[in-house]
């Protein structure tokens, strides 16, 4: 099935338009958000160019993901409305399993960055922090846009969503987790078990 994934680079909101937006009621500054993404991008480059074995690289990428992403809020969002009826212990177990799943799944995607580079372009304010826009230049592909959403609402500066050509991780994973729950008749414990081998 020919799946149309057109990759186009777009100009993103300029610094001027970002300045016009009301500044968010958080202490996170634009430069701190930008620095976080710079750091993530640098560390990804170091890992993928380290010359380690593929499984070691995947393990390192998982660690990066856990260190720089607010995995708890991501898990909570992905669980959606079903999360409201779950007990605190169930939520914790889900969050833990989700962390490994998401890190494996998206760590694998970073593998495509081998031999490529990511440039940080612009930043703009969003409700809970900042959106940092980057362009990925990967081997043999047209450049495409990757946006990181960064917030300090967890207590430290972390990213909580990634948009790749408009496709965002949170919404996509809420769809997927919703399907996993449907498949298990809404049994969150069964989904937690499934997540341990998924991704």
């Amino acid at each position: 099935m020919p799946f149309k994934l057109t990759r186009r680079a777009f100009g993103i909101g300029s610094a001027a338009s970002a300045a016009l937006l009301a500044s968010p009621a958080v202490a996170l500054t634009e430069s701190a958000a930008r620095a976080l993404v710079d750091q993530v991008v640098d560390e990804i480059q170091v890992v993928i160019n380290s010359g380690k074995s593929e499984s070691a690289i995947l393990g390192d990428l998982e660690n990066l993901f856990v260190r720089y992403a607010d995995v708890n809020i991501m898990a909570q969002y992905a669980l959606g409305n079903d999360g409201r009826s779950a007990s605190a212990a169930e939520k914790r177990a889900f969050s833990e399993a989700f962390k490994g799943y998401i890190a494996r799944k998206y760590g694998k995607q970073f593998r495509d960055f081998i031999g490529g580079r990511v440039e940080v372009n612009s930043a703009r304010a969003i409700r809970s922090g900042y959106e940092i826009s980057t362009t990925a230049y990967l081997r043999g592909q047209s450049p495409y846009e990757v946006n990181f959403h960064v917030s300090d609402r967890s207590g430290t500066n972390k990213f909580f969503n990634i948009y790749i050509e408009g496709v965002n991780l949170l919404l996509t994973e809420r769809t997927e987790i919703g399907s996993m729950l449907d498949r298990r008749g809404g049994d969150i414990n069964a989904v937690v078990a499934d997540l341990k081998s998924a991704g």
Partner: protein
């Protein structure tokens, strides 16, 4: 004059389709309940049947053939086929840009077509990119969106894959009005060139994006729901000029739930 008459008949079909699209967009205005998730899918049962067919087609034919194609044909040649196929689409891109009032896009597509067809050796070499002329891509689905036609319902098309009513009309119109497709309606050996190049490009893309596509189709809990979500997110992003992450959807701030 078969070319002229086929052009005329294509134009008529296109007119009929536009009319159909406008009507469809009016008649399928969705009720708020189905819009909450941003997805309008009243034909889900039928779509799922088509999805099962498409998945079988991919599993048994497209995926294995793309693997074979990538194993046998070196990447440089495969990229050349992609260049050639992309170049063939440029007259249509120029036309759609004009219809959208996008003179810059029309200029880019025309320039790329002329340059790549001449110094790019009939389109096999992407000379325009070497000379830093930006790429440009659009289609009649986008033209309809610019004209204010609504997205309509989500549909999964046989062989083609995820689409919307608006994009399905756009796709058919693009195929019928593409000058190079119209030429292929004549019976000459050249008629096989554009579809063959396109098939090669599709196989190459299937192989290049293999990890992503396999994870959507074969490693997800519900490949239909996942491909629908990803298609709509990506397509809306393309049509909105890259502002999909503009938080219109309040759910997308997970801290404010």
């Amino acid at each position: 004059m078969p070319l002229i008459s086929s052009l005329q008949s294509s134009a008529k079909i296109a007119q009929a389709l536009v009319a159909a699209a406008v009507l469809t967009a009016c008649s399928t205005y969705q009720d708020p309940a189905t819009r909450t998730a941003g997805i309008n899918d009243p034909y889900e049962a039928e779509n799922r049947q088509v999805h099962a067919f498409n998945k079988g087609l991919d599993r048994n034919l497209v995926r294995p053939v793309s693997k074979g194609y990538a194993a046998v044909v070196p990447p440089e040649i495969r990229d050349t086929v992609n260049n050639f196929s992309t170049n063939l689409s440029m007259p249509g891109v120029a036309l759609n840009s004009l219809l959208q009032g996008d003179l810059r896009g029309a200029g880019l597509a025309s320039t790329r077509f002329v340059m790549n067809t001449t110094i790019g050796l009939a389109g096999f070499v992407d000379a325009a990119t070497e000379l830093n002329i930006p790429q440009h891509d659009t289609d009649f689905g986008e033209t309809l969106a610019v004209w204010g036609v609504g997205e309509g319902a989500y549909v999964e098309l046989p062989v083609i894959g995820p689409s919307t009513q608006r994009d399905a009309v756009g796709f058919v119109t693009d195929v019928l009005t593409n000058p190079l497709t119209v030429v292929t309606l004549n019976t000459s050996p050249e008629q096989y060139i554009p579809p063959t190049a396109m098939a090669g490009a599709v196989l190459n893309d299937r192989d290049r994006l293999s990890g992503t596509i396999d994870s959507i189709l074969y490693e997800s809990a519900d490949s239909y729901a996942l491909s629908r979500s990803i298609y709509l997110q990506n397509r809306r992003f393309e049509l909105e000029g890259g502002d999909a992450s503009d938080e219109v959807d309040p759910f997308l701030d997970p801290y404010d739930n």
